[in-house]
Symmetry: C2
Subunit: 116 residues, 2 copies
DNA sequence: GGGGTATATGCCTTGACGAGAATATGAGGC
DNA sequence: GCCTCATATTCTCGTCAAGGCATATACCCC
């Protein structure tokens, strides 16, 4: 019924990343998320639904509230995918810094340790 | 003109992740990617375009070929975003394993000693 | 049981994006 | 100059998901 969405597709949504970040700090009810994110309740619920289906969060019923908490597995998967790429910034840090320098100083800001 | 796409949205696309994985192994021309991924050339070019605009790759012109290579910055950004979440699987590894067990054995397999 | 609160769901519209085919650009060799 | 190979771009079409609104469900307190 539900197309197995990849974890990457799930966290492509900025609001969902915000939700996850809040939940990383502490578990929250829907209403708390709604207030902190300043978004309509139905949106929050729908995003939570997606996150729950994908295993990013789980809910605990507490009276009328649903308290959501983080589940780490899907993010671990993302973390694992990154592994082969990490050598690009753990090994050649210096080469990277050159790149970053080139990037950061778009047009102006000529100071900043220009190693030319 | 181009909506500043988040790095997360870029890697939400499976084909783009495949391209990145191949490039993590070694730099490639468009034709090599086309053959390895078995996808039409126009698709490869279009995905590369997106990846290039987002800074994931850069191209070097070599005769008629364009050789693409990885650029680490955007993936570093993703890696950085994951930081606050890492404590969830570096600290409570045991609690996690319980969760994983519950997940893996979807409907059947009521026994609990599952040590993958 | 009724009213209020908290959350979920269904419908609909709109916009984004990927796939595919066709075409354009550009370089090299004859 | 022309032909061919390698890559990029354009267009159209179909799909799919997000947002907003309205509504449904579930719980609590009186």
């Amino acid at each position: 019924m539900n197309r197995m969405e990849s974890s990457f597709a799930i966290i492509a949504e900025p609001n969902r990343r915000s939700i996850l970040s809040l939940l990383a700090a502490s578990e929250c009810s829907v209403g708390e998320l709604e207030r902190q994110l300043r978004m309509p309740q139905s949106s929050v619920s729908k995003h939570l639904r997606v996150l729950r289906d994908a295993g990013f969060v789980e809910a605990r019923v507490e009276a009328q509230r649903r308290v959501y908490r983080l589940r780490p597995e899907p993010l671990m998967e993302v973390d694992a995918w990154l592994t082969p790429f990490r050598r690009f910034w753990t090994a050649h840090v210096d080469a990277l810094e050159r790149h970053l320098d080139r990037m950061d100083q778009t047009p102006s800001t000529p100071t900043k340790g220009k190693k030319r």
